[in-house]
Symmetry: D2
Subunit: 341 residues, 4 copies
């Protein structure tokens, strides 16, 4: 029986609590939260769980094996560090830390103390992303040529982070998971319409070796909600549309046609919509966070490397940090240093 | 009765021929084309129209009022110049010329000789773009904050131009028509996957004063055909989806919500899909090229300024030229000089 | 403070429990359930609520004002009757009873004892149906000419009822709510593919006076999930698509065109997709069952008539009973007697 | 070289003319049309083709091998009969004749005189229907259990036929083509809203042996255009959506789940959207009428049986005739006699 403590019972904390509480061989034993109204809520939802204000209580409890961190990002580093130092395994909300340096420190600390450090990149545990990983790994796409992602929202402006920090971690974690290469440079552009210094429409451009590019459109000011990623391969391509109820992942034959002299052939291609069959594989219907919770518990139990570990968290933050630099510098190209692996 | 001559009977020429031939008070009197198989086709389609190989025949025919140019872009400048010098009004295919300098020379020549110079930006004459112009002009969008356009295709690679030159003129002409401001700078990024030097996936970023931006995703290597433009305004927003059969233009309330402290309110907004009514206005079902032909003939008859005149053609070429520079220079920001107006 | 007891903690019971427990001025005090594994679940979900096996405990508890019945349909009549006789107000799952006679007895009993009798037609409390009721009531549709509904599922076969009894109550309750007329006759056709006597594909046809018809396609063996209703009016029409994320209700101008002699006009209409604007009104995002619970509690408190009362329950059962007769008789027309109002 | 004459240059005639004129080894030599404005149009479109008012001219011309009939349905029988008697092969517009008796007479006459008699059921020659035929024939659907078709339009009312006669022939010809069985009975229901005796909303129900049913919703008064057919098989199912640009045919695994006692399993299935992969095969992009013209010419040349012959035409008319009887008799079941094969 693994015993977990949760810190932070705001927007995402209740989801972690519910999913970990429902896992077999796992017990949610404590919830730490500073706001009294949220403590009351935690008590109502989980009458049998100890609800406290002081994080030290969790650190001091020797029965607690692992700590889940779902607080604002500015506290991630400090809380995770304390938890690791107290000998706890850690699952921390994305983005893992505010800076690359903090991320590297946590990774080193976890390595040194032989603790599990995992980052909650929930999307990696969806049936859709798991299926795409399977397809990419099988080689059936051929060489991956580009990734293009649109993640645009309906007018909910955050007040502490810009749209890149808010939305891009999802796409970047998926990018890193599917593309088995290190990005080499980043460019970002954005504008603010809310009278503060936080961009609400932004474009992020990530370069890889060999002309592979990834591009992200992130937007809080869109009339419609779009969550769509294209992955172009030399043999096949994927359309991943997270707003689709049942056909989230579609796989198409690529079918490039080079325009030759024949005008009628050109015209024919122009009006053609597709060059091969399309397959929409059945995806499992399950809550990603539940799969992730089970995976984290397995890692704790078996002392194995999490699918989304500290390195995965770091790689996302490296791009976010470079994007901030680029935006400040008018969209200039910012080189990425190699990861700390 | 206005008499027109057409030069170029390749992919687009037949459409011009058919639409001008069908206009009242207009007669298509001659078609000039260098390829013999295409001449034969022109003769078969229009038995009563004179089909010639020599462009000089059209220039020398005093009955011809106007010349339609539908040849490859490299010949646009020379043919249009000769036509204007011969005293003909001119409608030239997009892009108007290969360079800004050529475009400016044609504009000056047309002005000097008091001839009509129009560019075939067909999309401006669609019911959808006309409706959007009406909406934008009415002020109901409030201030325009951004334009984002995706125009991606299914694997038809051109062999003489890159994807920006091929696809962006459509979007740029719409941008210039709807946004009543001069762009100030351009950035472009792209990659080639066909082993030549022609980009097939590209992103174009256009800056305007006051944090207004326009962004374009242009792609020949997409698994699906998407033609969608978002126009974000401070009061309302437009989604223009050209692949929709009947609801190409949708107008949404903007409804920005600033995230305050209330977690439940935030959550509520997050799961909300929309913040107001949506209206999809009825659009007229008509062939844009027929509307454009009628408009051009009216301009010829009444000596009035075409909606899509030489200046409109120039403005598109200015951005294309800056984009080429930017792509060569690794995506650097290229300033646009003011138009020649 | 209204105190409610719930009987039945199977598939739907937990939803009722959760929603009533969350209402202000309401307390869920007891849950009755015969299966021990489900009792255990009820205890886990609602630690402070008394969980019992014996329904008599709820009847005998003088603090309990109202009883919620979420058991299999065969027990609805008996449980509701006992609850009404014990002086409790009652909310019963749909369909209210197995037979018209039972429904009429409950209605009479509720009237006699001055108790509230409500039926859980949840769809009536959705934002979509409420919006449609508002539109219909405003008269903007003109005269309602037809209703056509498709409610088809993905291969989940029930073992105790046929597809009409399973799925049609939703549509019939909406029909009765929106159309302010009594149906006069019913025809039904269906086939069984599961080797039992329970139809899994069925069509239900309901006649009203003045050529108003309603038609229902109900299907457990469909490859896709469709939940779409058309309501045709002489002035406007509604498309209600419950599978749409955000635009569930769309209102169209009707725009009938009578074919005259002009071939080109006919052709023009044929290729036209729409004859007027379309409006998709913003719908509130709220859980229908929560709205319904609040409404029921208001009725209990103010002794007012529920929107979905015993008569509403009876009207659905009248059509279901007629449909059974029709199907047995090869699809013959079965007249409906007038309601007991 | 096969020489064809066309009678009727109204709505559909020009399409036949254009497609036959474009076939190799075929010459359109004459067009017969009674309306002078339409004759003028025929002359303008086909300057080299003889345009006449008198059908006898076509009959008397020994060079004409085949006659295409695209006149109003009331004249089909008489014109086709004369053409067959004059020794011509015949392609006649759908529906082939007004009555079953007429259809049988034409079939007998064609057989006797050894002439080709084909009916223009254009849909059979679409890539979508051809693909479905291939799938059905392969046996991968298992046993076909039902067909459900919705063909609804936007407010174009015909003045001479009801909505069944106007729209159902398309679906019935597809039904007969795909389902290799004879239907045994028909029921039809409909209402008129235009003040005449012509139904504009109708439902048609066709019974086959072994609980196979086909159902059709036909409607001129719909707010949206829907053309969708479901074909349910015991192993796989098809969704054929003719309004889709590129994915008109989708094949799904059937995956029936029988509801057992397990509530959570039931719930799981309920929220599941699909039980297997979906495949949307690439369909050829070609004009169906062009394929049909080529096929007809091959039959003429090789004296072979057309895919859509007189028997196919008759089978459609048998159902239409039964539907008329049923509607008049309040939706009663009308038995179909066996075909004349």
């Amino acid at each position: 029986m693994i015993k977990v403590g949760l810190v932070g019972y705001g927007y995402w904390g209740p989801n972690l609590a519910r999913n970990f509480a429902a896992q077999p061989d796992c017990e949610l034993v404590a919830i730490c939260e500073s706001q009294s109204s949220r403590i009351a809520l935690a008590k109502a939802h989980f009458p049998g769980v100890r609800a406290v204000e002081d994080f030290q209580v969790l650190l001091d409890d020797p029965k607690i094996n692992a700590i889940l961190i779902a607080t604002p990002v500015s506290s991630h580093f400090s809380l995770a560090k304390q938890a690791l130092q107290a000998g706890k395994d850690v699952l921390v909300e994305k983005p893992m830390t505010e800076t690359v340096a903090q991320a590297e420190e946590l990774i080193a600390l976890a390595k040194l103390s032989n603790r599990i450090l995992a980052v909650d990149h929930t999307f990696l545990f969806t049936g859709a992303v798991q299926k795409m990983k399977e397809i990419v790994s099988s080689g059936q796409l051929g060489e991956i040529l580009y990734m293009d992602s649109v993640r645009i929202n309906l007018g909910l402006f955050q007040q502490d982070v810009n749209v890149i920090s808010d939305l891009a971690p999802h796409d970047l974690s998926i990018m890193n998971y599917l593309i088995d290469k290190d990005p080499i440079a980043v460019k970002a552009m954005g504008v603010c319409h809310a009278g503060n210094a936080l961009e609400n429409v932004a474009y992020l451009h990530v370069e890889f070796p060999n002309d592979l590019i990834a591009h992200f459109h992130l937007n809080w000011l869109a009339p419609v909600k779009i969550r769509r990623t294209l992955i172009g391969g030399s043999k096949k391509m994927i359309v991943y549309d997270d707003m689709e109820a049942s056909e989230k992942v579609k796989i198409y034959d690529s079918g490039i046609t080079i325009k030759e002299g024949d005008i009628d052939a050109i015209h024919k291609v122009n009006v053609d919509y597709r060059t091969g069959d399309m397959i929409a594989p059945k995806l499992p219907h399950r809550e990603a966070l539940s799969v992730e919770a089970a995976h984290f518990l397995t890692c704790v139990r078996e002392r194995s490397k999490p699918l989304s570990d500290g390195i995965a968290g770091l790689r996302v933050i490296q791009v976010l940090e470079a994007a901030k630099l680029s935006i400040k510098d008018g969209g200039s190209r910012v080189l990425l240093s190699k990861g700390s692996e």
